[in-house]
């Protein structure tokens, strides 16, 4: 009888362990992909039939209906350039040049992947926002709970962690040859409240 109980216990523990690991791994996979570039991370295997079971489940959980890399590359950032988790109480500088794609945008989400309510009703910054000078010389966005005196702003919520998603629609051929070393926006923490 005791032997039977050991088998049942082993089965239950194994099931819970396997399911728990799957839950943890799918939460990590979408924001901790195989390709890294500064604070950004991606997998180039979203939405394709050759994707493994973990990638497919991670996309279903954290980025359902994502497009394959031929159409769009999705980068995620959950940490700043120094490796610290992104904190809505802090002020960050996001800067870069025109991203090598037909169209790009950077969106701020909460840690579950949803847009956060903010009074300015601003959730993203895109290439369409750039002036001709910014497109040529570079751009800069402040991520902070309060609007900066000048320049572009992406509101965060004080006390709340957040994530960034960089979408590159129709990425350029040059970018696709080496996504890990391409020139992507830089993210620097300036101060914390």
């Amino acid at each position: 009888m005791a032997g039977k109980r050991r088998y049942i216990a082993g089965g239950c523990i194994g099931l819970v362990l396997g399911a728990g690991l799957a839950w943890y791994a799918t939460g990590r996979a979408f924001k901790d992909g195989a390709v890294r570039n500064g604070p950004w991370s991606t997998s180039l295997n979203y939405g394709v039939a050759s994707a493994d079971a973990l990638t497919r489940a991670a996309v279903a959980r954290r980025g359902l209906l994502a497009l394959p890399k031929t159409e769009t590359v999705y980068w995620a950032a959950t940490r700043d350039s120094a490796g610290a988790l992104l904190d809505g109480s802090c002020t960050y500088r996001l800067s870069g040049k025109a991203v090598d794609s037909r169209w790009w945008s950077i969106t701020l989400y909460d840690s579950q992947g949803y847009l956060q309510a903010n009074s300015a009703r601003l959730w993203s910054f895109s290439g369409a926002t750039l002036t001709a000078e910014e497109a040529q010389k570079g751009w800069q966005v402040t991520i902070a709970p309060s609007r900066p005196r000048t320049g572009h702003w992406l509101p965060s919520l004080a006390g709340q962690p957040f994530e960034l998603t960089l979408r590159m629609y129709n990425p350029g051929a040059q970018f696709m040859t080496s996504p890990g070393t391409a020139d992507l926006p830089r993210l620097t923490k300036e101060s914390c409240a």
Binding site: G3, G18, A60, E71, W103, A117
Partner: protein
């Protein structure tokens, strides 16, 4: 000690089962939830034209606030489905078709379409389709056809809304 070898092997087998079972459940289960949500707002094989995503309007996880989405929960169990697309001029748009396990079985953007209207027929492998039609074959009865349309400013939805509503999804 040897009496634990059997239970340990069972635990390992159960862990593998739990791992792969959970991944499959997440993939098919979450896609099923999405298909049901889309169908709940207009039925199956109907193109539903959604509002611009905001903090108050997020039908799926990680929506882009720069895109408006039109979606059709398709069901091929009773026959093929016809999808008609009219790209809006001078901006990114795309049609992507997802099957029940989240794979993209078809994607075409406005540039690939030459900016011109087109239509495709979605069908299972064994379903008959009209001659000459562009056909996309899928391995599952159900899935989602999704149109993404870029807005540079939210106010653009006014003039673009009549254009996107020309795109449709219907049973043949």
């Amino acid at each position: 000690m040897t009496r634990w070898i059997g239970p340990l092997l069972v635990a390992i087998a159960a862990a593998v089962l739990g791992w792969y079972g959970s991944l499959a459940l997440a993939t098919y289960g979450l896609m099923d939830v999405a298909m049901r949500r889309v169908a709940a707002e207009g039925g199956v094989n109907v193109m539903r034209h959604g509002a611009l995503p905001t903090a108050e309007n997020q039908p799926i996880v990680r929506p882009s606030p720069d895109l408006v989405y039109s979606s059709c929960a398709y069901d091929l169990s009773k026959g093929p489905v016809l999808i008609k697309i009219t790209p809006a001029p001078d901006r990114y748009s795309s049609l992507s078709i997802f099957d029940a396990r989240t794979d993209v079985v078809f994607v075409r953007n406005d540039q690939q379409a030459g900016g011109k209207p087109y239509q495709i027929i979605l069908a299972r492998t064994d379903q008959a389709v009209p001659k000459g039609a562009e056909v996309v074959r899928v391995d599952y009865d159900r899935g989602i056809a999704l149109i993404r349309l870029l807005l540079r400013r939210s106010a653009e939805i006014g003039p673009l809304d009549p254009v996107r509503r020309q795109s449709s999804c219907q049973a043949l």
